[in-house]
Symmetry: C2
Amino acid sequence: MKENAIGVFDSGLGGLTAMKELCRLLPREDIVYFGDTSRVPYGTRSPETIIRYTRQDLNFLSEFHVKAALVACGTISAVALDKVKDEYPFPVIGVIDSAARAAARCSENGRIGIIGTPATIKSGAYERILHEIAPQCRTMSIACPLFVPLVENGHIEKNDPLIVNAIELYLSQLLPFRPDTVILGCTHYPIIAHTIGDYVGDNVRLINPGREAAKTVRDMLNVRGLLSGRETGSHRYFVSDSIENFETLGGIFMRRSINGEVHKIDIEKY
Amino acid sequence: MKENAIGVFDSGLGGLTAMKELCRLLPREDIVYFGDTSRVPYGTRSPETIIRYTRQDLNFLSEFHVKAALVACGTISAVALDKVKDEYPFPVIGVIDSAARAAARCSENGRIGIIGTPATIKSGAYERILHEIAPQCRTMSIACPLFVPLVENGHIEKNDPLIVNAIELYLSQLLPFRPDTVILGCTHYPIIAHTIGDYVGDNVRLINPGREAAKTVRDMLNVRGLLSGRETGSHRYFVSDSIENFETLGGIFMRRSINGEVHKIDIEKY
C-alpha cells in the first residue's frame, strides 16, 4: 500500500500547479494525474453535472489503487467533494479545507478575501468552513470568470493589458474591504499570483490552495505510515482530450517541461 | 413533412444569434434549438471529440423528425459537418459555405479576413471553400480565443476595456492586410460586431454567417416545397446543462427575452 500511487485530478490542467507542489514535497512518490480536458471548464457548469463528472474522475483513478487522491480543483472541492468522497476506499483531499485553515492562521486583521470561479464562489464553501473554524473572521468573495480563459490563452505576463484589466475589474471591489489575506481559490490563479500581488499590495498574503493541500496529503500519509520508501517516484499524466496541446499548456502550469508519460483516455466510460 | 420542425444546434448558446435570424426570416416555422451547454466550448477541443459530440447533437434532433438542421456553430461546421452530414436523412446546413459565398460576392478588392475560434481557424475550412469558389481572393485568418468567454461574461459594450483590448490584440494583425470584407466566423461574434466594426472601419463589410445560413435554409426549403403553411411557428429550446442561466445568457444572444419552452436533456444518451 505504501508504494501505491497518489492520484491528482482536475477539470483540466490548472491542477498541475498543485501537482507541482506535490512533486516538490514528495519526490519519492508515484503520482498519477488526470486532467478532464475534454470537459473543461467545470467552473461554469451546474452542481449536478460537476458531481457526475467528479465520480467519473475518481472511478478512473480508482483503477490505479491509489492510496490517496488530491482534488486539485477549487470547483470540484467546493461543489462535489462532500457528496462523493465517502464512496471511495481511499482518502480524497480537497483544496478548500487546508486553504481556509492556512488563511485563518495567516490573517491578523480577520478580513479574508476569496477569489474563484463562479461555481466555487456560488457554493459558499470557503465562507462556510472559515466561519466554522474562525468565527471572528469576515470574508468577501468575488467570482473572476475570465481568469481561467486568460491564463489558458497565455495572458500571464505582468504587463499584459488583458490580465491587468481583468484583475482591476474584479479586485477593485476587494480593496475597500481591506483584506490582509486572499485565497486564490482556483488552481489557475497561482500562475498570475505576481500580477494579483502587485495589484493588492505587498501587505496582503496570498494563499495557494494547491500548496496547502499538498502539505495536507504529505502530513496525512506520514501519520498513517504510508509514505513511499523508494528512491524516486514516477509521474504519469492522463487527459480526456487530445494530448497535442498538453505539453505546451502543461508547461505553463508546471513552469517547466513535463517529465513522464502522457495518455489519452475516454472518461465517459468510467 | 412541410409542417415538421427545423432543428438548430450549437455547442452552447452562441447559435441563438443564428436562431434569431431564422425566426425573423421564417416566422411560420416550428424550430427546435439544442445548445450543448454542458460541453461548451467545442472550439478548443480536438477534431475527434468535436465529431463525436456533433453526432450526438444530430441524433438528438433526429428524434423530432426535423426537415432540416442548421449547424449554428462555426467550429462544428468547420471541423465535423463534412464527416457526419451524409449519415442523416435530412439536409444539414452549416455556416461556412453560405458565409464564404457572401464574402466572395461582397469583396471588391478580393482581400477577405476570417476570424474565429482556434478550431475553426486551424481547420482552414473558410480558406478552402473561398479558394475554390473565388480563386482570385486572398485571405487572412486569425484565431480569437478570448472573444467567446468575453461575450459569455457580458463584456459586450462598446467601451468595455476588456473587449476593446482583445479586439486590438487580435485584429491589429488584420489591418495591414487591408481586407474590405471580414467573416465573423463564430456565432458569438455578431454580438460584438459594433465594436469590431468601429475598430476595422466603416469601409469593411462584416459577414454574419448565421444570417447567411438562415437564408440558405429558407431558399433550400422553398425550392423543395417544404416551407410551412401554418400561421405562426413555435420555438422549443433544449440544453444539456442547467436551464437556470439560459434565460439570462440566452437574452444576450437573442437580444430579447426567450419565448418558448426550455428543457434540459442528457446528451450523453444520444
